[in-house]
């Protein structure tokens, strides 16, 4: 796959596009999105490996407006965000050449650690398997062991709105992604509060979740506004992180495609996707199934209404949080 993607990158570059791809970071697993403008750069730096988890669609907002054409390699979940951003008129589609890349699920260093691998120095794609180099020699592990959480519960392998595809078109999947949300809902309010306090109090307000989120691409943000009373970078009180994460999750409610980038980049490993999934689950239950980014036409649930929508008091009436 690496060779096919790289060859396609060179081909597109020579047809006059800038190329949005990945280059190696400091470690083998922190592969970084990058824009390539010359053949030498691509040959030297371009990588495509099982750790290319980053969602590329957000970078297309700026890149599609810089003039000229930009080519991007999008995984299925990236194409959902890509289409959602088009729906919000953020990406100029005519300036983007989108290459869909079949995705077998992306790997995660934390998953490798959890699988008991220590001293990992590198990893190679072997299709169903992953060849992991460690200080004590090489080991071959099942790729499913190394998958990140979001890829284990993948909602769709379908590539939307691509000009070209590398590999096979996939299908929407039946996902078990709400299982963890349901587990939390079944707890008592005290337990839930303790759970979230434990998770959110680790927040260091680095704003990485906001900066990486394709839906969080407003040019002005309440958390940058000193007059909002919510912009403090240093969490001085326990409430600070609650407020930040509730508002952030609320602001992307109905637009979040559940790509899972927020949890991937969190340096404190806070399961932020569980907040977004709660909103997605509630929207599906209360206002009918909705997948952000799945199409360009349907009205987003939070800028739509029905006259017989449930009243807010339903939250109390449902007894345990459903």
């Amino acid at each position: 796959m690496q060779e096919r993607v790289k060859a396609k990158a060179i081909e597109l570059l020579e047809s006059g596009c800038r190329v949005l791809g990945w280059k190696a970071g400091e470690f083998f697993y922190d592969v970084t999105p990058a824009v390539f403008t010359s053949r030498e750069e691509i040959e030297r730096d371009f990588v495509f490996n099982p750790f290319c988890g980053a969602n590329q669609s957000k970078y297309l907002i700026a890149e599609s407006r810089r003039g000229g054409r930009v080519a991007a390699f999008l995984k299925p979940c990236d194409t959902y965000s890509f289409q959602q951003l088009q729906k919000e008129h953020r990406i100029l589609r005519e300036n983007v050449y989108a290459v869909g890349v079949q995705c077998p699920g992306m790997c995660d260093m934390d998953a490798l650690r959890a699988a008991g691998l220590r001293g990992v120095t590198g990893a190679e794609d072997r299709g169903e398997k992953l060849l992991v180099h460690t200080l004590r020699g090489d080991r071959e592990v099942d790729r499913s062991l190394a998958l990140s959480e979001r890829c284990r519960v993948c909602k769709s392998k379908k590539l939307l709105d691509c000009d070209e595809m590398i590999g096979q078109q996939g299908e929407e999947l039946v996902s078990t992604r709400f299982t963890e949300v349901e587990r939390l809902e079944a707890m008592t309010p005290e337990e839930r509060f303790a759970f979230w306090r434990g998770e959110l109090s680790r927040c260091i307000r680095c704003n990485a979740c906001r900066n990486v989120c394709p839906a969080c691409s407003c040019e002005k943000c309440v958390f940058d506004n000193p007059a909002s009373g919510a912009e403090n970078k240093a969490p001085a009180s326990s409430f600070e992180e609650n407020l930040f994460h509730i508002i952030r999750a609320f602001h992307v409610a109905g637009r979040c495609t559940d790509c899972g980038e927020c949890s991937r980049v969190c340096p404190q490993h806070i399961p932020l996707h569980l907040l977004n999934r709660k909103f997605i689950k509630d929207i599906n239950q209360l206002y009918g199934p909705y997948q952000a980014g799945a199409d360009l036409e349907t009205r987003p649930p939070l800028v739509d209404f029905q006259q017989d929508d449930p009243e807010p008091s339903i939250v109390g009436e449902r007894g345990t949080n459903p």
Partner: protein, 146 residues
């Protein structure tokens, strides 16, 4: 706030200018009593209520927050309260998910003619929140006056 050892909650009531705010007026002119713990904040439409306002109210010492707007179908701007209804449903569900007591937030539709309903709602809401006690889970100690 503690006065004479008795806990008095602080309630922020966001009232739509076109209905509940006038409803509160009517309650006043009819000499209907409701606790002075309710601090009314006038907004142009229930749809104006940003979820951030609710969290900021809690942060700055509110023990309960109530939103009053026009009955669905009666919005001065035709559809504002329908959008507010969806937003508040989702927000309240999220607060519940985070383990915040669900009785601390409420939405009530009160028209300009329902002064009695306004007073009754406020009496009931204040006693509910007073029973829950002080808001500890969403407070911000830096913002509290005491």
């Amino acid at each position: 706030m503690q006065v004479n050892q008795e806990f008095r909650p602080t309630i922020a009531a966001f009232c739509c200018n076109w209905c509940s705010y006038a409803g509160a007026d009517l309650a006043g002119t009819n000499r209907l009593q409701y606790p002075a713990d309710v601090k009314i904040i006038r907004i142009p439409c229930s749809c104006r209520l940003n979820p951030l306002f609710i969290l900021r109210a809690f942060q700055r010492g509110a023990d309960g927050v109530i939103l009053c707007g026009c009955h669905p179908g009666d919005c001065h701007y035709t559809t504002g309260n329908y959008y507010a209804r969806r937003r508040m449903t989702l927000l309240f569900s999220m607060l519940d998910y985070l383990g915040i007591e669900r009785e601390r937030t409420r939405v009530e539709w009160v028209s300009a003619a329902e002064g009695a309903k306004f007073a009754e709602t406020m009496n009931e809401f204040v006693s509910t929140v007073a029973r829950l006690g002080e808001n500890r889970r969403l407070e911000d100690l830096r913002c509290k006056s005491e």
